[in-house]
Structure formats: structure tokens, C-alpha cells
Symmetry: C2
Subunit: 235 residues, 2 copies
Amino acid sequence: MALPLFYCPGTLYGILHLPEEEAHHARSVLRLSPGARIGLLDGKGTVAEAVISTMDKRQLQVAITSTSLRPRERKARIHLAVGLTKQMERFEWMLEKSTEIGVDRITPLITDRTERTRLRKDRLERILVGAMKQSQRAWLPVLDEMMTINDLVDQGIPVQRLFGWCEGRPSALATCYRPGEDAVLLIGPEGDFTPEEATMLTTHGFGAVSLGKARLRTETAAISSCAYMNLAQQV
Amino acid sequence: MALPLFYCPGTLYGILHLPEEEAHHARSVLRLSPGARIGLLDGKGTVAEAVISTMDKRQLQVAITSTSLRPRERKARIHLAVGLTKQMERFEWMLEKSTEIGVDRITPLITDRTERTRLRKDRLERILVGAMKQSQRAWLPVLDEMMTINDLVDQGIPVQRLFGWCEGRPSALATCYRPGEDAVLLIGPEGDFTPEEATMLTTHGFGAVSLGKARLRTETAAISSCAYMNLAQQV
């Protein structure tokens, strides 16, 4: 699809208004006019074609001309839960790249060694939307509120549970990961999980996995394993 | 190793001077003094411990106290040849991240759809050195001069030759890649390789591989497949 894409959560049917930020982008950045054809994504698989019917400084109305539903890309879902990094820029970069590579759900994780206590979720959502549009995907990853490991375990996560771990000699991700099954993978923040957290994770059915011998930054470990899980599913 | 690391190409033996840029970093950023212990990397597997013996504004002399040789990390080498992107920032990001993830050689590729004709190789080398130190690796990836596909083929590249390709229905990277053998993987620039280039690559023994259904940016495709090849080797 070569049409410019806009994110429009909700039911894509009939006549509707673009969200304010998307309307601004259409009007002031792309300088589209009434009659222009655009694509709409609801972030849940629906892709619609539409025509801009009317627009003014406050709102932009479109008429849907066709819709189609795209299936999920992956056989099995990928859920990343990643320790919040000190520099938010690094976490944001991880969100963008994992969305481009392919991820279904992302949990910002509070751990013993996490220093951050607040999150601008609206800003992070915008990054996900931008990456979804850029990579022409129809599914927006679910972004959780920040939470602790215990909260996460209480949420009904997949049976396949893994966490990146540098201590000891855990098996390689490629040995442990079963590409046909939904999985949740935890990556620690700077300084990694504490030994107590690792023990607690093991108790909750998480298997420790190695991502190699080199010391990877949190965000690099997250996208590296995300890329692996995506490509391993394609066999 | 918790010592601050410095890149020092050449033989790590006896008394030597740090390269100017590294000396500046030791003196003005880390504010080290004579007597401080540091680590040195030659980028070819040698890791040395040293003590700063003398320093002034122009030079910084160190005495090597011990050296060790670290083996290569991978069973089989990974060579990425990546089409130069319009925005150099994106190519630089790819260099940094692929070095962190693990790569042995990188070729900046000139293709039919490459617009860039010049490269600041010294700047790119510094990015590689920074990423090597950050990820505490002992091996610096080889960075080639920019070259065409024909030049690359003339250089004696591995028998396992792959290129990312979106047209048709190529097999998945995970199906084609043989983790036990050296490999070269080509990734096209914005707009991908031309059909003529794809035909020419096939003639030279390159197999087309798919990196998934989504449209990936050049730099995301490069690091994603680099991550896959590294992790697949760890089985």
C-alpha cells in the first residue's frame, strides 16, 4: 500500500474524524487536501482506505471506501518485558525497533535495579504508532503500564517464560526457545536482575537463557532476542 | 574486566603511547592520573592490562603489565554488506548495533539505488571502536571501503552467500542460513536491490532470503539478521 497511513483507533466504518494529532500530520506535514486518498489503521488488524471529505483547522473528516482485515503476522506471540533503562531515549529506541522487527506486547519492567519511577505513556504510545506506520504493519503492540515482576506474573502470561541472564552458564536462547508457542522474555535493566530476582523468576517457571558472551546493553539485548524469535518462527 | 578500556592498535608490549584520541579521553573525560590501571584492546583479540606511567598535554605513556589473547567469539564469521542509506546517521547506528550484537566484517555497499558517493571512514571507525569497548569485545569488525557488488564478489567472500529480498517468495533466513559456516549477507539500500542486481547476485551464487513480511528499514534488516545469525550459532 503506497497511501499515507494514519492511526485511527476505534471502528473503521462510514464517516469519521481523524484523531487530532493525525489530522495535524495530514494537514500541516503532508499538506493533503479534500479528495486525497489515505490509509487508516486501527492497530488491531483492520486496514481501511478512505477519502478526505472535509477539513478545517480543527478537524479532518474522512469517508471509508473499503476495509480489510490482516491476520497476525506471527504463529506465536512475542511478549517482551524489559527493565526500564536510566536513559529513556534508550527505552524508546527499543520500543521503536522491536515494533519494526515485530512484537505483540511490551511491558516496562520495574526491578530492584530500576531507578526510574515514572513513564510518559502517551509519548511511548506515539513512538509505537510511528513505528507501526513506518513498517506498514496493521497491528499495534500492546504497551502495558510499568509494573513489577510479581505484577506481571499475576497477569496471565504465556507458559513459555524466559529471562536473559549472564551469570552461570544458562542455555542459549536458540536452544530453549520454542518458536511455535507464545512466549514472554524478560530482559533486565542496567546491572541486570539481582540473584534474588533470578531465583524468584525460576520459582515462577522462567528459564534463564544466554544471549551470548558479550555484554549487551538492555535495549540491544531486547531487540536482538526479538529479532531472533521473529526469524525463528519463519521456518 | 572492570578497568576502563582503550583502543590501541599495534603490538601490545612493553612501554607505549596511547593514540591521541584515547589519551584525550583518559585525561580529560575519565581524568585518570599516573598510576591508574587501564585495559587496552588491539582489536584483534589481545587484551592487555597496563599502568599509566607518565602523561602530559601531548601524550600519555603506559606500561603493559599483562596480556592475554581472547579467541574469536563465533564458530563462523558473519560478514554484512549493507547498502548505504540516505541518512548517514542510520548507517552509523547500524554499525554501532551490529558491533554490539556481533559482526566480523562490514562492507558499505554501492548499489544502483545508492545515492551516497562519499564516506567519512575515520568517523565510522570511531563508532566501531566505541561499540567494541562498550560491549567489552576484543575483536574490532573489519570495515571495508565502500564498494560495488562486483568489487565485493572479487574480494574472496565466503561460499555461503545470501541477500535479503522482498520480491517473490524467497525462503526464510532461518531456513537457508547454515550457522556452522562463514556467511556474507547483503542488505539493499532504501528501495532495495534492483531486479537486475538480484539476477546478478543469483549468478554469483547468492541465495535470496526473506526477513519476514513487514517492510524493514535497511538498518533494521541488517541488525535483525545479524542478531539472528549470532544467536543461531549458539546452539
